[in-house]
Amino acid sequence: MGRFIYLDNAATTQTSEEVVNAMLPFFGEKYGNPSAFYSFAGEAEKAVSDARRQAAGFINAKPEEIYFTGGGSESDNWALKAAAEAYAGKGKHIITSRIEHHAILHTCEHLKKQGCEITYLDVDGDGKISLEELKAAIREDTILVSIMMANNEIGTIEEVAKIGKIAREHGVLFHTDAVQAYGNIPVDVEKMNIDMLSASGHKFHGPKGVGILYIKKGVKIRSFIHGGAQERNRRAGTLNVPGIVGFGKAVEIAEKTMEERNKRETELRDYLIKRVLEEIPYSQLNGHKTDRLPGNANFCFRFIEGESMLILLDQLGICASSGSACTSGALDPSHVLLALGLPHEIAHGSLRLTLSGETTKEDIDFVVDELKKIIERLRNMSPLYEDFLDGATA
């Protein structure tokens, strides 16, 4: 195999070898159902409770506040749908933002059809919601505020602690989709005034198909999946023991390595951003310059379209992603980029590069060098660039 540079760690990460090794026995010899009575199942049960303790401690929660799910999307669905049901007596109003993941936005659309009213907060050019607008949006009948901790496309980190404080002062539940944040930046549910939090294992070198929903003690939301007493009666289904063990192991590693990893990734990311902005004309950074995920860089290159860029990068063994319409099969480019106020034609030329602890400076240099050639090549066949140059010389 030739060169392979994986810069799509926001989509998924490689499950680390240590995690895989921790999981393996629970597929094979330790296959007992943790809900069973006999001592053979005890090992599985203990492994799950260790993982739960690990997942909780990492965000300053109590183990009994952690519920294992099938992933981030399930956690988001559960939090929103169950809150709407449980608090229907109080009201039907939910506040969220325009840049949420579709697991939130599509669930909100669903709830709207069920009679809920949804307020979508705008974001500024960096992707941050306004705390003043949030305050103004809260009503008597508001039951939930759901704002993501860090954006999956542009990496912007929201002021979650302040958002949580505002929600709490108004007696409104606060949920945060922390799928991109958990495992990658410090999270403290107490300090951040969080009532519910979604996270996913495969975003920080854990396995796919396992996530958590943190539900603060006292928040009265009900079961989302019925059929058993697992997860304190709140999430039925035989526990995904290998997945949960892998989640716990990934948390253990993330906790140990986070500080050093973040420092290194932030430096590399800033080096990448600096090179791109300095060496590629008509380029811009999307998202907040400093309040952003350590591994996230997102650019727009004018006059070209994202999918073409991705194909050419792929041919060089570089995995990246774009918010262009063509990559999603829709007509509109990324809702996140549009929410920043970018015009459609610029949003189509977006490129997201997300780093991991494995990314090296050599990788970054290779990608930027190749990217320069790719962009020049695509611009040379772009009628938009031709018009721009004609306009510039006219």
């Binding site: 006059f303 379209e305 099969g329 007509l331 066949m381 772009s382």
Partner: protein
């Protein structure tokens, strides 16, 4: 996702460029939707398309369909070029993924737009040529989920 032919035309697009003082120039598409194609035709006194060039802003399929469309009309008469349909472009490329069919429609429309411009400049009426729709995307329907 793409056929080998599509990838070939994307990687080695034929006839990229511009023609100075072209007989006809047509631009179709919409930056909003992420595809713009521009075709330049050089048409001689006998109505034969001697040279074709294109520029495209868009995805892999948009580049490949433009490239293939220019190949299909090069050396043809105006009437023959008019018969190059999006279906013909797709077949020549060994097919396109369903979400990319609109790119081939855009390529067909770009041919029409260049011919329309040629007819207008020369006060000609080309039988069977209707005023091109510049914005194909307006006709596309959004999928329900």
């Amino acid at each position: 996702m793409y056929s080998e032919k599509v990838m070939d035309h994307f990687n080695h697009p034929r006839n990229v460029g511009e023609i100075e003082n072209a007989s006809g120039v047509g631009t179709v598409g919409n930056a909003k939707c992420g595809d713009i194609m521009r075709m330049y035709f050089d048409i001689d006194g006998q109505g034969v398309i001697q040279d074709v060039k294109f520029k495209t802003f868009g995805c892999g399929a948009a580049v490949a369909t433009s490239s293939m469309a220019t190949e299909l009309v090069k050396g043809k008469t105006v009437q023959e070029a008019l018969k190059v349909t999006n279906q013909a472009v797709m077949e020549a490329l060994d097919g396109l993924p369903p979400v990319k069919v609109h790119c081939s429609l855009l390529a067909e429309e770009a041919i029409h737009a260049a011919l329309w411009d040629y007819a207008k400049k020369n006060n000609l009426v080309i039988e069977g040529l209707e005023k091109p729709v510049s914005d194909i995307a307006e006709k596309a329907e959004e999928e329900e989920y």
